[in-house]
Every structure is written in C-alpha cells, then in structure tokens.
Symmetry: C2
C-alpha cells in the first residue's frame, strides 16, 4: 500500500510523525508492506511555492492508496480577512479533487477520559456517536461574491439531490450495522437547501424501514448534544452543520486531541485528526498525538480492511490511557505530574 | 405603555399568560399603566386566516410599544418540507418588518440551577454571557431557489456592511458596560460573508480600544462554549451561527425553559423565550413559564427603562428557585416530588 503523509501546518507536523510510526509498527508486526511518501499543503506549501495545494501534492495524493493528513491553518491569515491565498483553500481543494464527500467522525469515548470532559460522567457514559458530515458541497463550495466597494459579501449555500443521496446512503448503511438509529440534522424550517435535504432523506428512509429515522433542527441538535449525547447514534448532516456539531462533540471525548476522522469518496481515503494546527503549542512537544494515531487506525480499518490491525492500535491507546498516561489536554487536576507526557513520549 | 401579546403556537399560549400576569402585577405594584392587546401569529394564524402573519397582527405590532411573544412552529410543517406556507415565516417576517436586527440573549445562570445542567457545576459557576445575534440578515433572508425538477436547492448567505456595523456597535457598547470583552464568531477561513463580517468588526474595534476584541471560528466557539463557558462575556455573531450557539448555551442555564431574549431595532422591541412551541407538552400544564416571565423582565428593563421593576421580577424568580420550586425541565433526581410544579403553579 502506498501511503502519502501530508503533515500540513503547526502541530500537524509533530502528530503525523507518530501516526506514521504506528503504521510502520503495524506493518512490521503483521507483515504488511507500506510505502510512504510525503507532500506539503497549507501555509507550509504557500511559504514554499505560493500555492496551498501544489500540483505535485495533488498528483501524489491521487496516486496513493490512502493519505494521513495533519492539520491546516495559520493565525496570519485568520486576522487578515482580505488575504486572497489561504491555507484552508488547500484542504478544501483536495477534498473536492479527490471527491471526498463523506466525512466520518466517530466520537469514541474512552472510559478513562470520562473525567476529562466538562460534561458530567453520568451524562457521557455509554455515548457512541458516528457523524456523517457531507464534505464537498454546501456553502463551503458555493459561489462567493464581494462587491467592488466592499459593502456586500455573499456565499451560495446549495445542494444537489445526488450529493445528499450518496452521503445519506452511506449513513443509512452504517446505521444498519450499528443500533439502527439515524438522526438527520438540518434547518428545514428556514432553509430551502435543508428542505431538499430532508425530502431526500425521507425518501431514502423508505428503503431502510429497519432504521429508525429522525429529523432534527440544527439549533436543537446543538443543544441536545450537550444535554443528552447518549440519545444519538448515527448523525447525518451537511458540511457547515457537521463542522460545528463535530467540534462541539469533541468535548464528549474529553478533548479535540482524541478525535480522528476519515474522509471517503470513490477513490483514495483521507485520514486526519479533527483538531486544528494549534500554532500556540506547535514545536513544543505538547500536542496530543492520539488523534493522529487513531486516524491511522481508521485508515487500517476503512481504507485497507485491516480490522485486527486497527483494533490493535485502538487497544494500545486504551491500554496507555488505562495505565494513567496523559497529555496535557486530557489531564485533569488529579493527574499526577509524572503521568503527564509530551507528544513524543505519548507517541 | 401599549403591550401586544402574541402567544403564537404550542406552549407559547400557556407561558405568555404568565408573562402577562407578571407585567400586570408590576403595573399594580409600581403604579404604571400597561394596556394589553392580543394578536395571532404562526400555525395558529394559518389555521384562522391562511396567513402566518396577518396584516392586522403586523399593524397592531407596529402600533405597540413592546411585544411579548410566545413560541412558533408545528410538527405538521416540519415533516412536510414541500409546504409553501409555514408558521416560521410569520416570525421571520415580523422580525424583518419591525427591523429587529439585534437579538440579545443573556445566559443568566441561577446558582440554584447549577445542578440541573449536564455540565459540571465547577465549569458553569460564574458564567455570564450576553449574546448579540444579528436577526434580519444572513442566509435566513437571502434569495432561495429550487429548480423545476427538484434536483437542486439554494439559499444565499449574505451581509451588507451596514448590517454588520449596527449590530457590532450595539455589542461593543454593551461590552463597555460589562467586563469589556467581546468575542466575534464567524467562519472567516471559509466564508466570504464572514470575511466581510470580520473586517467590519476589526475596523469598529479601533473605535473601542478599551474593549478587548477576539475573533473565533464558529466550530471552535461551539466547542469552547462547552469546554469553558466562563471565558465568554459579550458574544457577537451572525443570524445562523447565533441561532445554533444560543440554543447550545441554553444548557449552561440548565434548560431552554429559563432563557429570555430581546429583539431590538429602531422601534418596537420584541420579547420572547428562546424555547420553541414544544407541542409534545402543550396544554398539559408542564411548560416552564420562567423564560416568558424573564422576557417580561427584559421588556421592563430594555423597552421601558424600568430597571427596578425588572430587578423585582428577576429577584422573584431567584427567590422561587431558592425556595426549591422547580418545573420538570429544571428538576433533577434529588428534587422532592412535592417541589415539582406545573406551569400555572410556577407562574
Ligand atoms: C480548516 C477548516 C477549513 C475545516 C472545515 O471547516 O472543514 C476544519 O474546521 C474541519 O472541520 O476540517
Ligand atoms: C423558529 C426559528 C425560525 C427561529 C430561528 O431560527 O431564528 C428560532 O429557532 C429562534 O432561534 O428564534
């Protein structure tokens, strides 16, 4: 298997080092052959080439069997709303070019981290959510406009029926293999896009009578997710709503530093932590590498069908947490100082 | 003062009864004269007239000094994405017609309810957030399209500079009277609308050098609000993001049943709970009337400048909670059964 590593920006560099080493360890232990290549993207790529997604990176991405990505973004651009070239364009473009329309974000809760969350343990215990976030449509990719005198700006929120259908189908199929419950989140009381979304999901639900389908407004979902996360199983939603809900849901897992994601289309899969580039802690051996390591596990499972190998990685993470080891983001007031590790030690 | 009561749909009917009675009690006690009128809106108005916002209601609204509104919506329309006439159109239209561009949502935390939340008390204690949600622009009011064969739908997300400026100014002014911290939430790494938003807020910030201004992406804000709500004071955001964040934030106050809001423009103010019509408990004497009562307090304070009277209402709510009285939504496992009240008893 050919695996492309794209570290990206900020802590992306440090955490992918460990995702990669875990893949190497798995290859050695189970007798697989993984060939690694590396490429640049984001701020790092702008600095080197002026382009957030150089052609060479895209070509390597298309030629690979799976991609392990780090993180993207830099404060420099965040505070300069008029910048024309931006790191995020690299990520959005590679999602589009690889046709990665289905972003899977499992909210995996390790019992050992129940106390790391701001939510009460009794609210969290037993939570197991799988998000299906649409990733190549919505207001992210609609036409953008700014008038000449800078007094007006717009972004077109939009969906085609086939875009809703293909991600919804993936979510229904996944629901079948889990507890047969699907919650589709939209804002159909206000948005035409959401009304089309809801119609398509309603139609598809007829083909999955064994799956209990529910529709929820995004405002209510953002509330219920904090109030009673256990009530969710498979959650299906659009690009923008998914961006918001999954970040919010990261607090269920105790920290953004724990959450992995898989972006799938019809070709190469793309695996990345849901956390950002966190430049404030970059290069300080502070970042939590577990999200990257768990992204590697998702790659083994989803891209390569290596379930046993994937399980070995997840178990290693669980064992490490059980033994009391923590990075700063998942430590709490009771964690002994000598149990708090840096990125490299945790890796 | 002429006060228009619009009960709207579902539990809106029951809760506004109590908001109104509190206003009557205040008038009697402090020697004010409040004249009340009533009007219909939403599903109730569709049933009666076919129109979610009848002309008569709009005329009465424009002629009044302040409006106490209940709730809107009905499951019938939620599950029928193709319905052309919808209750919510009434609410959106009255917001637009009255020019209610600034929606203030204070997250008022009563110490007695610290345990009613799914968040840990130590995470909550001391939280005091004031949201400024823009209410008459964004993707809510942009052009909507659906193609003839139902394979495509769109909504235009958009902002004019003046729309951002006027709400931002209100938020900066409020920050000055509080702890001088303002957090503006957008998605400027992806949306052109957000980049205009951020530019305008950055420019305005120069006029408020005494206010510490921060910009945050919506996904991060949705996460931070759960992780560490205390870090927020005044939060400024667009219509859609504000809808999502304030519902999420309701869990800080223990329940949606506790949160009031004020919608202001240049004329009549509009006061309403942030909760919905909750048809599942409507007419059963179960709804929490405190959000409507606290909306009446906001009316006294903001629309009429009656601070002492407003304080009397808020204190009465605090005393009632201190005495142990609860409605079902704010009770917990330790609440004695005889302390759990219905809508009318709580009112
Ligand atoms: C960096 C940004 C463009 C991206 C998004 O909004 O999709 C990120 O927040 C994510 O969730 O992957
Ligand atoms: C009912 C609905 C249209 C409304 C909104 O989205 O603005 C509600 O959720 C609110 O927050 O007032």
């Amino acid at each position: 298997k050919n695996i492309l590593i794209i570290p990206g920006d900020g802590i992306g560099q440090e955490v992918t080092t460990w995702g990669k080493q875990v893949l190497e360890a798995i290859a050695a232990k189970y007798g697989h052959e993984f060939a690694f290549d590396e490429a640049i993207m984001g701020h790092t790529a702008i600095e080197a080439t002026g382009n957030p997604l150089p052609d060479e990176t895209l070509a390597k991405a298309k030629a690979s069997d799976a991609i392990l990505f780090g993180a993207i973004g830099h404060a420099k651009y965040d505070n300069d709303p008029s910048a024309k070239v931006r790191p995020e364009q690299g990520l959005l473009k590679i999602r589009k070019e690889l046709g990665l329309y289905a972003n899977l974000r499992p909210i995996l809760l390790f019992d050992e981290l129940l106390d790391a969350s701001s939510l009460k343990p009794e609210v969290l215990r037993g939570t197991d959510i799988l998000f299906f976030r649409e990733l190549t449509g919505d207001v992210y990719f609609g036409e953008k406009n700014r008038n000449a005198d800078n007094t007006f700006a717009s972004d077109l929120m939009n969906y085609h029926r086939y875009e809703v259908e293909r991600i919804a189908r993936k979510a229904f199929e996944a629901a079948r293999t889990r507890s047969k419950k699907l919650c589709s989140v939209d804002k159909a009381n206000v948005l035409e896009t959401s009304r089309l979304w809801r119609e398509v999901v309603q139609e598809l639900a007829l083909q999955y009578p064994d799956v209990e389908t529910e529709h929820m407004f995004i405002d209510n979902a953002a509330m219920q997710l904090v109030k009673n996360p256990k009530k969710f199983d498979v959650v299906l939603t659009a690009n923008l709503f998914g961006d918001i809900l999954t970040d919010e849901a990261s607090q269920i897992a105790g920290s953004m530093g724990m959450l992995a994601s898989a972006s799938m289309g019809d070709g190469t899969g793309f695996f990345e932590p849901i956390h950002g580039s966190a430049h404030d802690i970059a290069g300080q051996n502070k970042a939590n590498p577990l999200a990257s390591i768990l992204s590697a596990a998702l790659m083994l499972d989803i891209a390569f069908g290596l379930q046993e190998e994937a399980k070995a990685v997840t178990n290693a993470v669980a064992d490490t947490l059980k033994a009391g080891w923590r990075t700063g983001d998942i430590a709490n007031a009771e964690t002994p100082a000598d149990k708090i590790l840096g990125t490299n030690e945790m890796g």
